[in-house]
Amino acid sequence: MKRFAALLDGLLLTPSRNGKLRLLREYFAATPDPDRGWALAALTAELSLPEVKPSRIRDLAVERVDPVLLRWSWDFVGDLAETVALLWPVAPGRATDGDAPSPDGGPSPRLVVVVERLRSATRAEAPALLAELLDALDSSGRYALLKLVTGELRVGVSARLAKIALAELAAPHGIALDEVEEVWHGLAPPYGGLFEWIEGRAPRPAVAERARFRPLMLAQPIEEDELVSLDPAAYRAEWKWDGIRVQLVAGEGVAHVYSRSGDEIGGAFPEIVAALRFDAVLDGELLVGRDGVPAPFGDLQQRLNRKTVSRKLAEELPAFVRVYDILFDGGEDLRALAFAERRDRLVAWFDRVRPERLDLSPLVPFRDWDELRALYAGVGPGAIEGLVLKRADSPYVAGRPKGPWFKWKRGPVLIDAVLMYAQRGSGKRSSYYSDYTFGVWKDGALVPVGKAYFGFSDDELLQLDRWIRSHTVAKHGPVREVARELVLEVACDGLQRSTRHRSGLAMRFPRIHRIRWDKPAAEAERLETLERIVEKAAAGARA
């Protein structure tokens, strides 16, 4: 438990992705089975323990400490699990606080013992067992334990990051990330076979075929002027819908909605899971909206990164999947077929099955690139993110092969906005003002329209930092308000209506494109111009 607790503390406080990867690699390399497997399960939300509600944890604490002191401590610390971890009284002769996080020593029980005891406990038994375990752990261990039983690690590690760490450990044995991802969902914690395999001590584990996630085929980016090098007759075109890519796996009692990295997201989209009453593996775009009209990405975002969804939200923003491709029809693997053949099979499958909450992403017929360009120009930057070009003869292969599939995104929307506020970044950028809020004019005043913290070079960052320090007009805590003099050319992938922003608009993926040292602030964009772009986009989505 000591190692696992130290890992969680490290992950919580290490800002950089590489730093987190290093901690994960070191932990997996140095920790024995099955502890590391249970840790992996906990980090990737695959560990199910009897849930202990925060109110039960508070009750347990009140049996040991004065409720008034608990209340004030909680107010001060802000997080119940951390509060209880810190003030849980140390039983005489048991783990003392602040032991150096040495991986070997101490009376601390192993993670496997903690997990196995919790797993075999009933919901009713869990609180008493929890109290007994809290007595045996030091404060870091208690924190880790409470985070485990409340199911909220929140250490900034996605399932994907954990898989990347595993793949890095596996690399010396010639095992790639997509192989790890493919095997992943067929395995159950504590993943003994997986670790043996990535350490080169055992063959690849056999996994149940049906429930498995198959790594997605991705498209290479292409620029408009590169199109001429391609033969238009060899390609098919499809709209690139602005949702999230998913894989639907259904049949023989399984129903999974996997994200592009293989994370199960079905819990947040129960209406999709309920509609998976067929036997196939499909590739598509998850969208929200009504009558087949996709809502802006911002609406979908409200339903992402949740474990469950409220009925109200599911009714307000119903989800559907626009299907691009078919990988399996029943038990038949179609991935080796050419795209054109798979497409025919997909159309036939739709006719036969008539699935609910699924529709078919239409092909966009064209004769030559000019015609496609003209079609594309007719839609605004709304629900459509771009076009995908697929070679008619391309089989479905995992990863991002060069040549068969291209994504063609139009240039970004560029907006000249005025820098209003700046904040320091984190990690390496903690001494630089690197987070910028910018606005556009409305009735002679600036209205903030977005925030961006990348897109500039290191040199430009240095210049901006210097400019901000010398043009600060007010400080609001960590935020500097600057003179309204500097124009930033901001690039974004689209503009949408938003009730959460004062301007009524939200930018999709904004970044600093250029610093317009030359442009007077008065010549920056006006809010009306942005509103017109939104209207055009909305019209395009309906078209």
């Binding site: 406080l13 730093g19 008034v68 401590s73 001060f76 610390v77 003030l87 606080d97 903690s430």
Partner: protein, 335 residues
Amino acid sequence: MRPPDAWLRTTPAGLRVEPGGFVIDPIAPVERALVTHAHGDHARPGSRHVLATAETLAIMRARYGDDAYRQGQAAAPGETIAIGGVAVRLVPAGHVLGSAQVVLEHGGVRVVVTGDYKRRRDPTCAPFELVRCDVLVTEATFGLPVFRHPDDRAEIARLLASRAAFPERAQLVGVYALGKCQRVIALLREAGYERPIYLHGALVALCDLYRAHGVELGELRHATGVARSELAGEIVLAPPGALADRWTRRLPDPVVALASGWMRIRQRARQRGVELPLVISDHADWDELNATIADSGAAEIWVTHGREEALVHQASELGLAARALGLTGFEEEGS
């Protein structure tokens, strides 16, 4: 026992000893001040007459120059000074160099004002001395049961482990200039760390002063002007306020550490962008605060600053008369 309310009163300037006509740690200049220790929120410049330990007077002079005070009176260890019918004695508080508790006796009542204190061993200052009393006037900076400071040697071991794990990076440790800085250096030396330790310019003067008072700190160097590559794998100390400052850009990809009792709370560390929180405090933790209340034998507890309400509650639960004084002007930074 007659409560000392008649002669020991809370005033806007601070805790005033009426018969002696002096204020303890006044927040504004007064005619006569008694200063427990030289941290900026306890020792402010401008009072006319200041009674303090010799070390505290020296630090005030170093920090404030001629503004420190017009007339300084050094209280020798154990010396009892009679001021307006009050017997005054300063005894070590174990907080920083020169820090003192104030023992006041008047009308048959003994009051101890702890000032800031800790009860753990600190190689850079005299250890806390327990004085039994009728009324204990205590601080409560860490007056919540979530604050239990670990063994400082284990914290130093974590700093050295981080240095070993990242030989290409500098270890940048935020330390308060007075006390924490020198204690961290001395603890590193005790742990067998013999390399030069690099300092932000704001820390140099007080390190020199500690050395002049006989505290061994080993080889110290200015970090300013040293090539970035030379600082890889080195330990660099800077004031907490400089951790996110432009100054840090001279360091090779620093691991940001902060030595403070507040680092016990993960979210505090996270908010400040601290990668390596070192829970090293110069204040009493919850257990020490309570132990001191018990050990003092005091029947009445007055709480000066910090999380007063919790400590007052706890003392009341134990059947003691307890109250918060509501003094203002004391800061949390660097505790």
